[in-house]
């Protein structure tokens, strides 16, 4: 479904992503783990068009994303929950969700999907008239996820959804990610919390300073000595 080939991204003279290839198949949860500064967010931004790829290709089914303007990509069925949530703080929860469905015209279906999001995140329903900026970190993460789901994506990119959340909330968020996947949405998950991410992933990649150094199934990587040493505190 999503196939990245020899992707390179540069910030000025610095090559942040040094030619990586990976793919996400229909229905999978694929995770990319790596330390701070490994290039995880840059990879995500290259896929969703927020940064330009210097070289390489990013294919979503039959569309070349490196040649697609950022605002057209969500319309192709790829939504992203950005790092740091980036909810619209000065708009209400409901307005944020409606913005998530910005390109959709099917008013009735948008209503139904909003109810579905509220079912997934009952907290959001309680707070739907509240400004997003007044929500707690966990609630903002839920809102960012709900907002992305409002686009009815076939593939959802999640960038560090567990960042800054309490262990209890992290469990809840990972549980919901699995639930979203069970309902048929393909997932690409970027995480520093390697243990949790590998536990739910079908397949995984390790990114180190702009290069993919390891790949395998979630289980394989969990049991890999190098991964345990570097990312699992073992």
């Amino acid at each position: 479904m999503l196939k990245v080939t020899d992707l390179k991204v540069k910030y000025g003279m610095i090559e942040a992503i040094k030619g990586i290839s990976f793919e996400v198949r229909d229905g999978e949860i694929v995770t990319m783990i790596g330390a701070n500064g490994a290039g995880k967010t840059t990879t995500m931004h290259a896929i969703s068009g927020l940064v330009k790829a210097a070289e390489g290709s990013i294919m979503l089914d039959d569309t070349e994303l490196t040649k697609t303007p950022a605002n057209k990509i969500v319309g192709l069925g790829l939504a992203q929950v950005p790092e740091g949530r980036r909810v619209f703080a000065e708009q209400t929860v409901e307005e944020n969700l409606i913005l998530g469905a910005y390109l959709r015209k099917d008013k009735d279906a948008i209503r139904t999907d909003m109810e579905e999001v509220y079912q997934l995140f009952p907290r959001l329903k309680e707070r739907r008239t509240q400004l997003a900026g007044t929500l707690s970190g966990g609630e903002q993460q839920m809102l960012a996820m709900g907002r992305a789901l409002m686009a009815k994506p076939s593939i959802l990119l999640l960038d560090e959804p567990s960042m800054g959340l309490s262990p209890l909330l992290v469990s809840e968020i990972f549980h919901i990610i699995q639930e979203i996947n069970d309902k048929g949405t393909t997932i690409l998950l970027v995480e520093q919390n390697a243990k949790r991410a590998l536990a739910i992933a079908d397949r995984a990649y390790v990114l180190e300073t702009g290069k993919i150094t390891l790949e395998g199934t979630g289980e394989e990587l969990s049991n890999d000595e190098r991964v345990q040493k570097a990312y699992l505190g073992g």
Partner: protein, 291 residues
């Protein structure tokens, strides 16, 4: 009862500033730039209305509409040609470009229409009505009413429509807006269109109040309205409204009670004091440092 009539005249002048300030503040809020050519769009609007009325003999409402149309297109074209190529450039480059556009418009007007000033026809009836002991001209009433209508329409547009919601989203976070599928360039164009259309409305009110039309006529009201926008909190729509009205009232009071020559200095002096006490302006948002 001089006081009341000064106050109402101040509100009238302030309404013009407020309408112009909306253009500055909206463009700043969304494109994060100071469009110093905004005052000169007012000048162009005045000329267009002037020619529409005198040369083509159009009725007043049609002349206003023509000015609005021309200014709207002008604003969008300026943005496309001058500012859009600089989207990634440092803000100083954009600022200098805006000043360049301002001179370009002023000098262009001089070439096209000569530098001598033209007398704007008085189309709004010169009559007045009495409110208490004060007599208020129809023009002042029309100006205040226009400002109120503009403010209501704009607030509804920004808060109740899909495009308005997209505009607010862009002003907060352009990257996240793109992830929603919002075409940020289009939103910036719309913002310039609205700002410039409002400038055209202000231009007709301004030229009716001070009926002389000349190439640099936009600079002073432009600077004052910019001051009003900063005063109210740049980026804030209600701020521009409040800032404009207060600035107009201060200016008229300063002229009436202190000194005509010093009035501008007093206006800018008050701005400096306000910014010292509250750097983000009266209704400005506090600047959050995000982590």
């Amino acid at each position: 009862m001089q006081f009341l009539s000064y106050l109402i005249n101040g509100l009238g002048l302030g309404s013009v500033y407020a309408i112009i300030a909306l253009g500055y503040t909206m463009v700043y809020g969304i494109a994060k730039m100071l469009n110093f050519a905004h005052g000169d769009v007012i000048m162009v609007g005045s000329y267009i209305a002037f020619f529409a009325l005198t040369k083509f003999g159009l009725p007043f409402p049609l002349a206003v509409l023509t000015a609005i149309l021309v200014c709207t297109v002008l604003g969008v074209v300026i943005e496309r040609l001058a500012y859009k190529p600089l989207r990634q450039a440092p803000s100083l480059a954009v600022l200098i470009t805006a000043i360049g556009v301002s001179y370009f418009l002023q000098n262009g007007a001089q070439i096209l229409w000569s530098s001598s000033s033209k007398v704007f026809p008085s189309v709004i009836s010169a009559g007045s009505i009495s409110i208490g002991a004060a007599s208020v001209s129809y023009l002042t009433l029309l100006t205040i009413a226009t400002c109120i209508v503009v403010m209501i329409c704009l607030t509804l547009f920004i808060n109740k429509t899909k495009t308005g919601s997209a505009m607010r989203a862009c002003s907060e976070d352009k990257g996240a807006s793109m992830l929603m599928g919002i075409n940020v360039n289009q939103i910036i164009s719309i913002t310039f269109a609205i700002g410039s259309g409002l400038a055209a409305i202000a231009s007709v009110l301004l030229a009716s109040t001070y009926p002389s039309v000349y190439p640099t006529m936009g600079s002073m009201p432009g600077i004052k309205a910019f001051t009003a926008a900063v005063f109210g909190g740049i980026g804030s729509v209600p701020g521009a409204f409040v800032g404009g009205l207060i600035l107009g009232i201060i200016e008229i009071f300063a002229k009436a009670y202190i000194s005509t020559q010093l009035s501008d200095a007093i206006v800018f002096g008050v701005l400096i004091v306000i910014l010292l006490i509250k750097p983000t302006g009266l209704l400005g948002k506090k600047i959050n440092v995000k982590v």
